[in-house]
Symmetry: C2
Subunit: 123 residues, 2 copies
């Protein structure tokens, strides 16, 4: 597919798709006329990238961890440096913290909304 379709299917500005490519997060072939051409799996990848960006990971980190999250999961041992392991462990732990924070606040908002709706019903 071309960039416009990918943009629609991922609800992502074309500008950003080119940026993600520049940052090494997604890959495209080129058609004879120079247009970018994407494989289907890129749709999911873009969604994943956006998700990770939204929870505060910078592209630098996303680029590092993405290969490890590929569903076609063969482990390329040469990639597995102690450095990489450390990064992954660190990011995993940070994710756990974020999950905790979000869960807590999510619950608090929910509780509040519940309380408000009761309040309103009572008035």
């Amino acid at each position: 597919m071309k960039i416009g379709e990918l943009s629609q299917r991922t609800d992502t500005p074309v500008r950003m798709l080119r940026y993600y490519e520049e940052q090494g997060l997604i890959h495209s072939e080129r058609l004879p006329n120079g247009y970018r051409s994407y494989e289907d799996y890129v749709v999911d990848r873009v969604r994943q990238v956006r998700g990770l960006l939204e929870v505060g990971l910078p592209t630098r980190i996303i680029k590092q961890i993405l290969p490890c999250l590929d569903s076609s999961r063969a482990i390329y041992l040469p990639y597995v440096t102690p450095d990489m392991i450390a990064t992954l462990e660190h990011e995993r732990d940070r994710m756990a913290e974020k999950i905790e924070c979000l869960t807590k606040n999510h619950r608090a908002i929910n509780d509040y909304l519940d309380a408000v709706s009761h309040e309103i019903r009572a008035s």
Copy 2:
């Protein structure tokens, strides 16, 4: 307490504390000499603010939802505009999405690390 202590206790640059105040996220009294003076509860609030910032919420939104997350939770009905409710519901839903995204990726990293450690043991 003064800003330096708050900074230490929250592991937050002084610069940022002043910024959060400017954005209306925390509050300080002033000592006679002009120094900021914080109540104890601000420590928790700063931690909460930082947590929310880390998961990608802008200060503008944090400012809106913070009052609803106060543990001393009396509902001030005048604050409860339909607008506000909509914002809260929206942010709550976004949080749920983020939790899902983080959980998925957290698990994937963990699985990967597990697989790697087995791989290493086997080699």
